[in-house]
Symmetry: C2
Subunit: 380 residues, 2 copies
Amino acid sequence: MSLAKPSLEMLRALTDENVLRALMEEGRLTRAEIAARTGISKPTVSDSVRRLSEAGLLADTGERTTGRGRVGTYYSLAADTGAALVASIGPDGVVAETVDAFGTATARAEVGLGRAPGPHATARALTEAVALVRPRTHGRLRTAVISAADPVDRATGRLVHLPDAPFLVGDLDPAEVLAGSVDGAVLVDNDINWAARAERAGGCALGVDDFVYVHLGEGLGCAVVTDAEVRRGHHGLAGEIAHLFTEGPRGRAMPFTEVFAELGLRRAESTAIDVGALRAAALGDSAAARRTRGALARAVGGVLAAAVALADPRLIVLGGAWGAEPVIAEAIRAHFAALPRSVPVAAARVPEPALAGARARAVEALRTAIITAPRPEASA
Amino acid sequence: MSLAKPSLEMLRALTDENVLRALMEEGRLTRAEIAARTGISKPTVSDSVRRLSEAGLLADTGERTTGRGRVGTYYSLAADTGAALVASIGPDGVVAETVDAFGTATARAEVGLGRAPGPHATARALTEAVALVRPRTHGRLRTAVISAADPVDRATGRLVHLPDAPFLVGDLDPAEVLAGSVDGAVLVDNDINWAARAERAGGCALGVDDFVYVHLGEGLGCAVVTDAEVRRGHHGLAGEIAHLFTEGPRGRAMPFTEVFAELGLRRAESTAIDVGALRAAALGDSAAARRTRGALARAVGGVLAAAVALADPRLIVLGGAWGAEPVIAEAIRAHFAALPRSVPVAAARVPEPALAGARARAVEALRTAIITAPRPEASA
DNA sequence: CCGTCTAGTAAGGAGTCCTGACCAAAGGAG
DNA sequence: CTCCTTTGGTCAGGACTCCTTACTAGACGG
């Protein structure tokens, strides 16, 4: 609400931010190149580079320009500006990466859970994965972005269990696990939300401001992107569609998750979908398979109709172990196209989408951490 | 994406904006008061006031401070800074207002349609209402914000007809009707979206960042507020819930709008709900009324479940001719509370909500128009 | 070897904001 | 009535930021 107060300090900070961002995007630049890129005059850029070098954020790389004219000196971010941790937590294990401010992944580790699933084993796997990547990165970990295959409470960052939905990873607080290894903020979100961001950044929803990503796998979920942002809702549970009323077998209205119980496609003693059984029942050319596909398409169609009604997307993206299966996706698409307010349907196509989305956000977070970090007063 | 380039001009503009906003909120202030309010030093404020006075945006009101100390001169916005038009368009007619940059309504007119509904009559009514308020306002109309009781295409601002939904006002392009009377941009949105903003600004959803406003009247609609903004979706049709699949009578899945056909509660030859018939059927203590209420509650419950699943609101607001009816609202609330992911339900309470929401936005738009308007170069 | 071309610096100026001192004028105390 | 206090507003000086223009340093090309 309150408007920023104008000051010369603010102006200088903006100049420094321009210089830093130019270098983050380009890797290394001479002062003249920075001036050309940002539109700021050469003397001002030189001032800023001097300031930032004295603060330890920038360094002469030792490289020099070649070609006609005077040799230029290349500057780049200092080596110790730190890194960000990215991790993807699923029921099978953990994938962890570190990225620097240029967006380059500097280390990667995968730790599987084998036959010992559960939150404790997952916490250990996360700790272990961090220990594996930690020594292979320069500087401290200034922030972390975590993807988890369960709903995430927006306020606390904890994984939460919703009624009648599978709890794939289990009760876990990633921020607590990482408390010792990461200096700054730890941001946790659902894997589907990260996947949606990845599709928007470079997948089938490239640049689309309003779309819905529907994930159909062991669990059921979706991500709602409106006005170019994933919307998480008050608790962070937007997109948890298990209890959305839709059309079940024989035209009855029932929660989405119960359709799978009704069809006998759940795993024993669990609310998770048995993807193997589903594929066995829905793929192929038999009349039974076609019937199953029809039932699935009608149930998913109800979910898509709800998404269209409430979010008005330009596009719907189907992802997940069986949602991206061409034959099933085609059945869904055909049924949905016949509904009164249909929109185009596309298939997700980014590999490791959750990790990719989290990685992009981690780079962003690391960059702003570097830019907004308090700097020593220039009082020498 | 690209970062603002720092410049001294930008700083000055920020100072001027601080001064202008302070005066817009407070009405009249002395330079010392502006300095105290904004935190900007007195000399700088004096400079800014001189600049803005020379540009014709500010004027000495002639009033003077009384009390101890030197007399101060009060400044205020110049009288000719213009006004904004606000209009609410419904099937029964048009209400138009003009507001100034202080948020004060300066004129108001209501033009009914009587027995001649339809888009042509509505366009005439709008023109007439504007002609009535126009002479009673100072300065030109610099922007307009329109509320319409039909879905609005976000890109064009036209009212659009969706299949199986009533078209209460009809095919109309408010911006075209107003082209001659309004200088600046014309913003058109659905009445339900404006109502939701009004409830957030000062009603039962005061300050809530994530909520869903469900309107149950002749038409069916809702507004989705996430992260403190009404989300309109790609076409502007977010919240058009007529085709959302829900639970109909006898437990069958069907589009929301068809529930009313099934219950015989639609008006003849129309997809609009017969509110009179609905009240007759659902109010009272008879077994039949209780059955009807139950059917309505289950149908609305499906819609609320979908809203909770996709938007994760902190609150659901019920409004509209029968949605706010206490007995029906209570039936909805009771049924919804038993669902697995229930959230609090409140009743809308802002009077003339669509107009109130549009008015607030019009003030905002007028203020930014004044602040960002190109100013004559100070070259005297 | 000299002209050309480019990175970077130096000098000067315009503009913005601030601090602190000062002035003007009204109300209150005695 | 006079003096002091209080407050709005201005003045002068200074710190700082950014820009333009002109200049220097130094390598390549012919």
